[in-house]
């Protein structure tokens, strides 16, 4: 295979069936943004949508908008749009709270389904909030409920008759490794264990078929690939077969069967609605809906093909053009096993990331030594990948990372 050239790249972009979507996003000039898996870009349609919500629905129609603008059904309406991306039925998904809070709900749901089982199982190095919510629940139980973490490859073997829930991230936030949802779910069910899938790095990024995998519960994030804006509401999936069996521990008024009766006694709403809790954030939900409305114009197989190709290209170019600089791929090289990102470990990873950010290429650093680059096939181009690798090359050739300005401090993403 001959070395890839920028002319090859230009042809890839020219032939990209999704290239028209790039113009639906605000992309700051001069920036190569490979961090849509931390915060997705702003769709061009979002500001006007939000202006309508703010000026007309809130400002003009005020409280009446709970009915006239259907705010009250926004969590279900937007949840149903997410359902189309993750292989769920419309009445199995609701946008609500944060991913963390929804993990807590799903863990409690599994405990109720699991009888006397006491162990919450996950993998070491899972996204921290998932593991932290398990630890909080263990603390709340006074130690009766146990949090157990094992190495990723040992998760299936660790399933046993004490396991009340298995909580796994579908696409790992650092390595991008994608789990086989159907196979693991089946292994867990064989042991009587319900599974919670964290789809934060999957929804809108890779094909997900929750019902095809016979999944139990899932949670996910609205502000990454779904382009819902900073701190967008999260979502919760509960399989239809489980919904009525679970008492929602976070039993807020909007999960009540008749919230406006103002009864003293909590009665869970039918179905997925019982997992609602407090009053939904309407501005955040509206922005998330605008992001989804762009994404739902595309077909997931096309998104996946492009995202895999972007990742393959990044890996190839890093090998061809940065091979001598000590980067080690930290993601699967096979696109089939990889989410919509690539990552590399490097001993100077933090400083290198700061140096390329200073040159307008934005990825993420993840402790201790990971450089992470996410691909949003709606707005990232093959040329973005080319520019990113060329910038890394320049930073390494010039040793630009070796500058006190880029020394490690608290990172924020």
């Amino acid at each position: 295979m001959s070395l890839c050239t920028r002319e090859d790249i230009a042809k890839l972009d020219a032939d990209d069936p999704l290239k028209g979507f790039r113009n639906q996003f605000e992309l700051p000039p001069g920036l190569v943004y490979l961090d849509g898996n931390s915060l997705g870009c702003l769709p061009k349609s979002t500001p006007d949508r939000l202006a309508t919500v703010i000026r007309e629905e809130w400002g003009r129609d005020l409280i009446r908008s709970w009915n006239t603008a259907d705010w009250i059904n926004a969590p279900r309406r937007v949840g149903a749009k997410i359902a189309r991306l993750i292989g769920a039925a419309a009445d199995e998904v609701v946008t609500v709270d944060s991913t963390s809070i929804n993990v807590f709900k799903a863990l409690n749901a599994c405990l109720q389904l699991s009888g006397d089982r006491k162990v919450l199982l996950s993998e070491r190095g899972n996204f921290p909030t998932d593991v932290y919510m398990m630890q909080g629940l263990s603390m709340l139980s006074g130690g009766r409920i146990e949090t157990r973490l094992v190495d990723g490859e040992d998760v299936v073997a660790a399933l046993d008759e004490d396991t009340a829930a298995l909580l796994l991230t579908h696409v790992h936030y650092k390595t991008g490794r994608m789990r086989d949802m159907a196979a693991i779910t089946k292994h867990a069910h064989d042991k009587g264990v319900p599974v919670i899938w964290d789809l934060s790095h999957s929804a809108g990024a890779v094909p997900v078929n929750l019902n095809g995998a016979n999944a139990d519960f899932a949670v996910g994030c609205g502000y990454k690939y779904l382009n819902g804006g900073p701190g967008a509401p999260a979502f919760l999936f509960a399989a239809t077969r489980h919904q009525e069996k679970v008492f929602p521990i976070l039993s807020g008024w909007l999960g009540h069967a008749a919230p406006f009766e103002f009864d003293d006694a909590y009665r869970p709403a039918a179905g997925i609605d019982r997992f609602q809790c407090g009053t939904p954030g309407i501005l955040g939900t509206a922005a998330l809906e605008a992001g989804l409305d762009v994404m739902l114009q595309a077909e997931m197989p096309a998104l996946r093909r492009k995202s895999s190709a972007l990742g393959d290209l990044f890996l190839r170019l890093m090998d061809e053009r940065c091979g001598e600089f000590g980067f080690t791929p930290a993601c699967p090289e096979d696109a089939e096993e990889r989410g919509s990102q690539v990552s590399f470990s490097h001993e100077h990873g933090y400083a290198i990331m700061q140096a390329i950010i200073a040159r307008g290429v934005i990825g993420d650093f993840r402790a201790p030594d990971i450089l992470r680059f996410g691909f949003a096939p709606l707005y990232n181009s093959y040329d973005d990948v080319w520019q990113a690798v060329e910038t890394i090359r320049a930073v390494m050739v010039e040793r630009a990372w070796d500058d006190p300005a880029f020394a490690r401090r608290a990172a924020v993403t």
Copy 2:
């Protein structure tokens, strides 16, 4: 006392020291809005503030805004502004999650402070979500933790050595009755019971002095008197003396001591930060901050004087002009005992409220028979009160409420 005339009203408005604030809000022409205690009006400054957050901070600066726009500190920065309204220190308040979720956090905090005590105490007819969250926690404990509801006047007598927490709303959502925070807190402390005050109908509406009352925990709502927009983030207060003693059960990553170290083990952040959980909704938090920035230009004593006067006027006019129509005040007649609202019971309450809403006067119906009118002294005028009562009078004189269009269906607020 001679009957009140519209000329008297005009003089009250002309002499109102807060009248200049009305122009800082978008008030739909022709509407008399007495429902700021369900959803506060849109400050004129909010749309531009949000446009900056959306177009510049999100759209242009993207992930960097967590640092450059200080998104990461927004919950603390906005919490500190709320602290000024409720007699708290800046580092005792954080905006986070919903009121419901924060009730759950505060209940768990009290349980940790209360040793082996098992009873969560509140009053019958408290705002439902408070009571529902107690019930969820009882369910989670498998019945070990007990929810106990007594009549409002019996709450103090019900405090005993089994009581782990007392959860009360400071200003009752239906009756507007305001509790004596300092006296009740002292009674509870005498029995070793920490108190959680729900300030949803207090913050920004009446003077609150949490530290003056030696309060333990408080929660409250951003979308009512604080004018933070539909579903705005809620807030949580934890007294400094308790913060380090409590393990936050909803232990999300942003409550971790070092969230960006991505450790597997949860370590609570110092102080109030440990009550943060997931990623904060930045759009909602920004709107809440814009609302607070208007309110903080006013002095609470002036707000309170006007709000009391608006309520007194409403009660007087209802007596003078609607005395024959069967309305019974459901709020304290003494302004000292009343929050920033009045309410009346009437057997046709639902239909009457629908009929006056159809004529452009917006209040709330609250089951089973309560008409509720809230006063936001920043934007409500004495003439609003005059128009509201005249509209009620007209609806009663004409029996306009007796129309199938106004028959009861599910209400939404």
